[in-house]
């Protein structure tokens, strides 16, 4: 595979990383919770999509009708528990790690550790590519990328232009002043956690379209997705998308040029250097928020 093709495939895959990262980033930036359970929810989303599509024999994208509300409710419920227990950033990391492990175990118990994959006859997006000249756009990643761009772009527009979006940004900056101007932080927090859970559902389904499911997948995601969150700038929606594309392309190109262990080393070296140069994220002007 040529480096250009690798960069393209990786960039498209990056849209999926961004979709996984955006919920994490937003709840970190705005709710001050580093919610590792988010990875558990993505995993649940992917398996639920697989299971529902298989048992009802429907298009896996249709399962979103069930998984999105379900995981939104789960995200909000988890946030309610976090609020109740008065977690701060650091303790949230520990507690939500525990929750993630429980979710992985749950998936393990229900679906076993066997590989699972959506049957090709159900999954119209599972294989094949579009071609532009010599360049191939693999269908599953293309779908994931398109969904990522549309949803993240839509989220950004909401944050920029609506009363609710402004309220969220104000809330992220100064909770007390936001409250003094009528913003109910409990309601807003639940709403945001719910939205974040919904993105986990979408990311899970998109993952299931193009990948074999294993219960340990979160450990595979964590490194890359965290890199995307931090490079994109914590709480920065568009930054996350851009960082996802960059990290995806970088990872993919590195894997063509070097063997797998070396390529991961190179990827994280580049990420570390980037963070040393721009600690608040690649696209954040001035001070960190």
């Amino acid at each position: 595979m040529s480096a250009v093709q690798a960069a393209l495939t990786g960039a498209l895959l990056g849209g999926l990383y961004a979709m996984m990262a955006v919920g994490l980033s937003v709840s970190w930036g705005m709710l001050r919770v580093i919610n590792l359970a988010h990875f558990g929810m993505i995993l649940l989303g992917s398996y639920l999509s697989f299971a529902l599509a298989t048992s009802w024999q429907v298009d896996p994208l249709l399962t979103l009708l069930v998984t999105v509300p379900l995981l939104a409710a789960l995200g909000a419920a988890l946030h309610w528990v976090y609020e109740r227990t008065g977690l701060v950033e650091f303790t949230s990391l520990l507690v939500s790690f525990g929750v993630m492990i429980i979710m992985i175990q749950l998936v393990h118990n229900i679906w076993s550790a066997d590989f699972r994959r959506l049957a090709p006859e159900l999954n119209r997006y599972g294989s094949g590519s579009w071609f532009v000249g010599e360049l191939a756009f693999p269908l599953p990643t293309l779908v994931a990328f398109g969904a990522g761009v549309v949803l993240i772009g839509g989220g950004w527009l909401l944050l920029r232009t609506t009363f609710l979006g402004r309220a969220l940004r104000a809330f992220a900056e100064d909770r007390d002043m936001a409250a003094a101007y009528g913003i109910d932080h409990r309601r807003l927090g639940m709403l945001l956690a719910g939205a974040s859970g919904a993105t986990a559902a979408v990311a899970g389904t998109l993952w299931a379209l193009g990948n074999t499911l294993v219960p340990d997948a979160p450990f595979e995601w964590i490194g890359i997705v965290f890199a995307v969150v931090i490079l994109g700038g914590i709480g920065q929606v568009l930054g996350t998308l851009a960082a996802g594309v960059l990290v995806g392309a970088l990872t993919s190109v590195a894997s063509v040029l070097w063997e797998s262990t070396t390529s991961l080393l190179v990827v994280f070296l580049v990420i570390i250097i980037a963070l040393l140069l721009r600690p608040a994220g690649l696209f954040v002007r001035g001070a960190a928020r």
Partner: protein, 234 residues
């Protein structure tokens, strides 16, 4: 409009207010003056709902708001211009103003209110698209006041609006206070600049070490030896 009865307030275990009684009538401007650490900001925060470790009574229009959360206090028409302004630095000037109109009672008429605020502070219209963190201190103070007005308050709490401002800007800020008062809004004004504060107020309270030392019409307080000592003591 506002009635505070026997208010005790605490920061953690440290008590900052002891049995404070205070009232602001409809469309009245009342000053609270006093030395540093007297508890003026504590009082303002307690009324705005930002400090809930309090004992006593805080009534707005007869509604007991003593234990009510800040966002609900806001719905009752209380708006705060806090010490240090605390505008939302990442939001633009325009967005800060719109955010002021977040509460239900202010949202529908926000265009008309915005026009009024721009008339009061034309500078804010010129700087509309700037992030608030790029503004000068005086402009940020105008923005903080403008944001409060966007909430269409009936009770405005101003905590040291003159802090760190140049005299020219001060004139503009106090002119605004007069205009706001003329519009029928009740104002509780905390100030270190006692001359200016008394000039716009009908009555005043002198606070020291968390207690009301003396209170009354401004003409009476101007000549009060305790007030003079407190002024000179700074």
């Amino acid at each position: 409009m506002l009635e505070v009865r026997e208010l005790d307030a605490f920061h953690g275990h440290a008590q900052a207010l002891w049995g404070v009684d205070l009232a602001v009538g409809d469309a009245e401007v009342v000053s609270v003056i006093g030395p540093n650490g007297a508890g003026k900001s504590t009082l303002v925060c307690a009324v705005a709902g930002l400090l809930r470790t309090v004992r006593g009574r805080i009534l707005v229009d007869g509604h007991d708001l003593t234990t009510v959360a800040a966002h609900r206090v806001c719905e009752r028409g209380v708006a705060i211009v806090p010490e240090g302004r605390r505008v939302f630095g990442h939001l633009t000037v325009h967005e800060n103003l719109l955010l002021g109109a977040h509460r239900r009672g202010a949202r529908s008429g926000h265009r008309a209110t915005l026009a009024e605020v721009h008339e009061l502070f034309p500078r804010l219209a010129e700087r509309a698209t700037q992030p608030a963190r790029n503004l000068s201190g005086g402009e940020q103070q105008m923005l903080a006041i403008g944001r409060a007005l966007m909430a269409r308050p009936r009770m405005l709490l101003l905590d040291e609006p003159s802090l760190g401002l140049a005299p020219v800007v001060l004139d503009e800020v106090f002119a605004a206070v007069r205009a706001i008062h003329a519009g029928g809004v009740s104002v509780l004004l905390v100030e270190q600049d006692i001359e200016r504060a008394l000039a716009v107020s009908g009555r005043a309270y002198l606070l020291a070490e968390g207690r009301v030392v003396t209170a009354g019409p401004v003409d009476q307080l101007r000549d009060d030896p305790q007030v003079r000592r407190s002024v000179l003591g700074q």
